[in-house]
Subunit: 555 residues, 2 copies
């Protein structure tokens, strides 16, 4: 059987090696008339799903009303999904695996890439669904949750394909034992580990789901996707797309199933505890991620949770550009990203700039002004900030601002902005709290949502030390240092690497600090409480399949 | 700095790819005068260590008398090892890691290969030590625990070297954001996971210790070796050799440390629970291995334990050769190997042979006769069986033979043989119990030592089904099928692979069934209770290091 996506596969494999930019898909939604019409049509398709049943080809126990409410309209999506029958799903999964595990690896890989293409075919439709479940802007839904997420999926397929290719299918072995030469013919077979449970988060499901889904499928493992109950639709659509490709190929659709639950009756632990569960991929809170890492056995767990993302602002060639870069990270998707900046450490004796030292207070004021700049322009705010996925997040911010009293100063209170298209949108602009290092109980761990801290330390060295202390304690996914002194930058790089964290230095300009590039950036080191897995490295693939062999005398 | 072992490294990498036979070292001890003199000299060196202190370059809390008693002489080795100061050892380990992690990966790899060579320089001396701690014959100590074990060590280094080479050290990334091109320079650094605790077994420590030691060291992790308290000396010598190479290079000797305990006061759990423990490599019982897999978090665990090794004897072109092959596996090192055969399933309607059906009873008699053949010749018995490491093992056999009453028939009772060189040797010849499948409580799990079961099933299909049932329940490390019908062999291969087990078919002749070849055989699939790790595949390496990155605007 010829494969459809061999060129794409080879290009992706090459990109993983060179770490250069690569993507087979357009980056941004089109602005031409045809694209605008397609976006409208996709909106209609999305709206057509509201209030209906979402059928999937898998065992179910009737229907389950979803918990989804659009952060933009405040209205329930009112979509009914298949209610999970967990035992029946795992049974179907096991039967499907017996077939899938004998499909040759290169064909599995090709079918994964076909699924990627089919997901891209529904790009705009998925973007509308993503927007109204996660709160992301339409543009971010197309880019971050569309193209970038598909790229991470392709990247995982490329790593899986390479890892499986490195296992030979046969070998001839010959050795003398005394006067006799023993000749053995050996066959090696790649065996999947078993059913994988992929648990996705509420605010950015596709970006982690696609790599996990395809890493599992490519290596022969069936997948049960357990979406966050308030953010199901994109995962249901992804399941539908995967099942469609499988059905066309005469393969069991139960290789990809959706297990929906509700906030009141969560089932993640039941899925993990099922004796057939062999792999868990998780994105979500550090608390549950840590629990999974410790308790998933005999399943292996791949987690991405959250950490304290730090910026050390020791010096800069352009304070305004730096303040703008930080402000964008504080605001981007209302800081509901695993790469959103939280803590900004400043030297109390001033930030180095071409115009001399700028006081920490003035530097903070620059960041506040840069945030205000975004927040004051509703069109821009809508594009950057989008909406807040969960009402709970807004509550956290109000609580925090109360907590601050006596321990710091609210340099910029959270607010709202008027969404130009959706007047009912749940919006929230960043809160910035100015503190000193003694207020660590406020900033020492992850605060989800648009909450940030400007921490004035003794000097630049102290700022670095304080940041590293938090990174060591709570982990980090994205870390930044701004400085003009090369020695300082080198020390900072070593300090972050020694703490198990990656570092970005002196980045300003149009690339958001939050951006992690498929094929190029190792996302999450796996060495900190922010997660044990990396998108994507060989360790993300290696344990998902095993090698068994058959040896016999050579004919 | 030029590396000493680049040719060896490339040859080993190639062998891992082609799966062909490879070894840089002689297979068997020499028989020429010079070799015999060297063996004598090594014996004297071994004897010189008895009754003395074994100093190592590491923190210690005084001395600890070892629990070692030679299975050949019955005399205590009376060697005193450094008593472990666990916190001080982990502290030293962490300090050593800070230095070692910055040594470039290719140099770490080269130093591992230098250690391999230095271990080989002490080949005969290690073999004497191995013989008198494990009970292996001198010849097996040279081959299985010497050359073959070093080869598995080199294999792990080769996999580690390849995995690290596949991580680029830098990358240039360029992408348009709107009208601006963003150019980033990226550096990627391999970071070790952290201190590895390598727990070795009593009867075959080097074969698993070397791969674990070198996989850890090559990827930047310091190692603490925790040997079985009754089988310490070879691990102490390996630690000494590694420390010597490190010292010569001006590197911290605490990168490899030895943590000795006693049977009465075991410390394995304390080592695993230490907050700095990040990797556990374990060889030993399925019970403790399972506990480690479930409880090592946040450390990752690589285990090799034991399973039920099965032989299905459906048919054979040469019953005598097959009986001899099985008998050798039952006797080899008194069945104290993870690859020793335990359960032999026979068709009740007869074994297919060129002379027609041979009854199960007659086939069992052939195996018994083949065992007797070995046991009756003390010189041969000594070479094949060696001695029994632990007196406990002999007790297990006596208990079993009592258990059998009413549930089966002792087809061959265990016995002893007179060792020609060591009259005090603790010897034990194989016990073979004839049962039918209803006696599963006797044979359904691993019975350590020279205990085997000849299980007469309904027919060849039933024999295969019964074997697969045990493999699924208890795991397997080595599995064998003898049959003359190709269809049956194909079905058997699929059945074993589906059960997560590798299979050897129709092997007779001078290669022992127990033999697993470095660079060629994937040892342990990782899919069964017999262990989660494979010697050696990419999964054995991948999690031991992580990749972090530093990105900044291109100059």
């Amino acid at each position: 059987m010829s494969h459809r996506h061999t060129d794409l596969l080879e290009e992706a494999i090459t990109a993983c090696r060179t770490r250069e930019h690569f993507s087979p898909f357009p980056d941004r939604p089109g602005k031409d008339d045809a694209s605008l019409a397609a976006i409208d049509e996709a909106r209609a398709a999305y709206e057509g799903m509201l209030g209906g049943s979402f059928p999937l080809d898998q065992p179910s126990a009737g229907e389950l009303p979803g918990d989804e409410v659009s952060p933009y309209t405040g209205e329930a999506l009112d979509i009914r999904y298949p209610a999970p029958d967990i035992d029946a799903m795992f049974d179907a999964s096991r039967r499907a695996r017996a077939i899938w595990s004998r499909v040759e690896p290169e064909r599995r890989v090709d079918l994964c890439l076909e699924m990627v293409h089919r997901l891209h075919d529904r790009w705009y439709e998925l973007a509308h669904a993503n927007q109204h479940t996660t709160g992301q802007s339409f543009s971010m839904s197309c880019i971050g949750s569309g193209t970038n997420a598909l790229d991470r999926g392709i990247e995982a397929v490329a790593y899986a394909a390479e890892a499986m290719r490195r296992v030979p299918t046969t070998g001839h072995w010959e050795k003398d034992f005394g006067r006799t030469t023993v000749s053995l013919h050996k066959r090696y077979r790649i065996l999947p580990r078993g059913t994988a449970v992929v648990i996705t988060c509420a605010s950015f499901p596709t970006w982690n789901a696609y790599p996990a889904l395809f890493a599992n499928l490519a290596t022969g493992n069936p997948v049960v996707i357990k979406p966050h109950p308030t953010s199901v639709l994109t995962m249901a659509m992804a399941t539908q797309v995967a099942q469609q490709v499988l059905r066309e190929e005469g393969l069991p659709t139960e290789l990809v199933q959706l297990a929906v639950d509700t906030t009141d009756a969560p089932i993640a632990k039941d899925l993990i505890a099922h004796p057939d569960c062999r792999i868990v991929d998780f994105t979500g809170s550090p608390a549950f991620g840590g629990w999974i890492e410790a308790n998933a056995h005999p399943a292996i767990a791949f987690t991405e949770t959250a950490g304290v993302n730090t910026v050390v602002l020791a010096g800069t060639e352009d304070l305004q550009a730096t303040a703008a870069a930080i402000a964008t990270s504080l605001g981007l998707f209302t800081a509901q990203m695993c790469t959103s900046v939280q803590n900004i450490y400043l030297p109390g004796d001033g930030v180095d700039t071409p115009d001399g030292k700028v006081s920490a207070e003035d530097a903070i004021a620059s960041i506040v002004a840069a945030v205000d700049d975004i927040a004051a322009n509703p069109r821009r705010a809508a594009g950057v900030m989008g909406a807040v996925q969960s009402p709970h997040t807004v509550g956290l911010i109000n609580n925090l601002e109360a907590e601050v009293t006596g321990r710091g100063r609210v340099a910029r209170p959270a607010g709202t902005y008027e969404h130009p298209e959706f007047p009912e949108a749940r919006t929230c602009t960043p809160s910035i709290v100015a503190v000193d290092p003694s207020a660590r109980e406020l900033f020492g761990e992850e605060r989800f949502g648009p909450i940030s801290f400007a921490i004035t330390c003794a000097d630049a060295d102290d700022a670095l030390d304080q940041a590293i202390r938090d990174v060591r304690a709570s982990g980090a996914i994205a870390s930044h240092v701004y400085a003009t002194d090369r020695d300082y930058l080198d020390r900072a790089a070593d300090a972050y690497l020694d703490a198990g964290a990656s570092l970005t230095m002196n980045v300003t300009g149009p690339m958001p600090l939050n951006f992690a590039a498929a094929y190029s950036d190792y996302h999450v080191t796996g060495l900190s409480p922010a997660g044990n897995a990396c998108l994507t490295d060989e360790a993300f693939i290696a344990g998902r399949f095993r090698v068994a062999q058959v040896r016999e005398p050579s004919a």
